[in-house]
């Protein structure tokens, strides 16, 4: 089980510079856990060379095979090439990799904190939680730089008990960082049955870590780093993490993550 030949079902721009690539998967493709990622090969030659990792945004079983969606922002050569993929183009895709989100059994409310395109894996998490634990509550905090970069609001609205939107420039919702919006509601959001799941820019994760510093709440974040092999061998995609004895070590986003307990993340200023 190395790679799968998949086909582009659709590839549409959902916001300026942001696309959803929908891949038609063959039967036998494993069902991913929310928070897992796939490696996508964008050409057959040597340029671009490496596969690119993307978190799984949506996944649906179909009559034959399945559909997997990737929500991505065009940031470089790889994603630029990706944005030009047409329907039926062949895309070599890895099976789902990495460690996904964990929802402890006692959790009745999940609070999602998304920054920009970081909302991608949280939508799949929210939909799974909604389907499997219908009685649970979902509080979603979605932030972006500006209104037109806000992503997935309809999808999240459908499953969320509460949806809070924030923009840094104040063009929609709360004016400021999404973590500041959460801070205002924090006492109300947190119960002993609440867990927090976040994905976004490093600054957002750092602010969230500071916000939750003294709070006894379970919080996982999906991390990102440049990746080469995607299977734990090359040691490229490392992030500084706290070991059991408080020691610092470099953990691999691809197998030790991408989902990591926020209390294990070491931020630059702590090194």
């Amino acid at each position: 089980m190395g790679t799968f030949e998949t086909r582009v079902h659709s590839n549409r721009e959902v916001a300026p510079g942001h696309y959803v690539l929908s891949l038609a998967l063959p039967g036998g493709y494993p069902v991913p856990a929310p928070g897992q990622f796939v490696m996508v090969r964008l050409g057959v030659g040597s340029d671009p060379l490496l596969r690119r990792p993307f978190s799984i945004h949506q996944f649906h079983r179909e009559k034959e095979g399945a559909r997997l969606d990737i929500l991505y922002r065009v940031v470089g050569r790889g994603t630029e090439i990706m944005s030009r993929l047409k329907r039926d183009a062949e895309v070599i895709t890895s099976p789902p990799g990495g460690t996904g989100f964990h929802i402890p059994v006692n959790i009745k409310r999940i609070c999602l904190v998304a920054g920009g395109v970081g909302v991608a894996p949280l939508v799949y998490l929210a939909q799974s939680f909604y389907r499997e634990r219908g009685k649970g509550e979902i509080f979603s905090y979605v932030g972006a730089k500006t209104e037109r970069d806000l992503l997935c609001l309809p999808e999240l609205k459908r499953v969320s008990s509460r949806l809070t939107v924030g923009t840094e420039d104040g063009t929609a919702g709360f004016a400021g960082l999404v973590t500041e919006a959460l801070k205002e509601d924090l006492e109300e959001v947190l119960t002993d049955q609440t867990a927090i799941y976040a994905c976004g820019p490093r600054g957002m994760i750092r602010a969230l870590a500071a916000l939750l510093n003294q709070k006894p709440v379970f919080c996982q974040v999906s991390m990102e780093e440049r990746m080469a092999c995607g299977i734990g061998a090359c040691l490229s995609c490392v992030v500084a993490l706290k070991g059991r004895e408080g020691n610092m070590y470099y953990g691999r986003v691809c197998v030790d993550g991408p989902v990591i307990n926020i209390r294990h993340v070491i931020f630059e200023e702590e090194r």
Partner: protein, 307 residues
């Protein structure tokens, strides 16, 4: 029906079922790939460089992609030789593939101690001495730029091991033949080359390096022509076997190295692009020999016809 071409090669006292190995640093400790590829089909597995004590490696970002290439500054993150011998090696031995341990030291003593531990533990088919890693402050490349220092490391390692010793050379030298001859004279049983080539990439917005260090080691298809030339020069300089490394991604790439005289090859960055790359290269090599009506891979090794 004609029998399949024979891919086996003799290398420094070892018989390999085929001449295609993994390159150190690109295949972890082997088991990472066990879900993707039948490890017993590989000629030999060269594991990630091992130092005496664990090394944390360099901070991220550790890689950046360049045109048909990959710049890395991993910095030899590894679990240390003692943990390798205790935890990884017993698991790897189940796969019935020769294990070549890659040895790194900051000092000659460290090279010797790591080699000693690996020899005493049993389970390794050979040692590859890494005097060519460009991403560490001490040791590594500093031994790989000076023929006298390279010879000293080789001699010291040879003193403490009865395993075949492969010395992995850097391309960052003016005269590869001199370096190859120096380690041969010091007792190396084989040489492997090339390690990565120092390179840079700059973020034009921040004007900073795109890596956490200013320089990184370049690998991938971009370096293949340079590697092929250096291997050709090394083959002519020494009589011990030469293992060709550098940008091999397809069977054709591997065959080019064999033709210029490499006894075996190592596949590195290509493992990242496709975890089954090695298997495809081995099959491609077999297909090429069959198509040419050749009975053995030895029929192409060192058959370069020049201009």
């Amino acid at each position: 029906m004609k029998s399949l071409p024979d891919l086996s090669v003799e290398l420094a006292g070892l018989t390999l079922k085929n001449p295609v190995m993994t390159a150190s640093g690109t295949f972890g400790y082997g088991e990472e790939y066990a879900d993707y590829i039948d490890l017993s089909k590989i000629g030999a597995i060269v594991v990630k460089g091992l130092s005496l004590e664990p090394r944390p490696g360099n901070p991220p970002p550790r890689i950046v992609e360049t045109a048909s290439g990959l710049l890395n500054t991993i910095g030899l993150q590894n679990i240390g030789v003692k943990v390798f011998v205790k935890e990884k090696l017993p698991r790897l031995r189940r796969f019935e593939v020769p294990i070549i341990a890659n040895v790194y030291g900051e000092t000659v003593e460290e090279y010797r101690e790591v080699s000693e531990i690996l020899t005493e533990s049993g389970g390794c088919a050979a040692l590859e001495i890494n005097i060519s890693c460009p991403n560490v402050k001490k040791g590594g490349l500093s031994f790989g730029l000076d023929p006298d220092a390279a010879a000293e490391v080789t001699r010291e390692v040879k003193r403490v091991t009865d395993l075949p010793v492969v010395v992995k050379l850097s391309p960052q030298v003016m005269n590869i033949s001199e370096m190859a001859r120096a380690v041969e004279a010091a007792g190396a049983d084989a040489i492997s080359l090339i390690n990565t080539i120092l390179g840079m990439a700059v973020d034009i917005h921040t004007r900073r390096s795109r890596l956490s260090r200013v320089m990184g080691g370049l690998s991938g298809p971009a370096i293949k022509p340079i590697a092929l030339r250096l291997v050709w020069e090394a083959v002519r300089a020494v009589s011990i076997p030469v293992i060709g490394i550098g940008g091999i991604a397809t069977a054709q790439d591997a065959i080019e190295f064999l033709i210029v005289g490499a006894r075996a090859v190592q596949v590195g960055t290509a493992n990242f692009v496709d975890p089954q790359a090695i298997e495809k290269i081995i099959e491609g090599l077999r297909g090429y020999l069959a198509q040419k009506g050749l009975g053995s891979v030895k029929d192409i090794i060192g058959t370069f016809e020049g201009e």
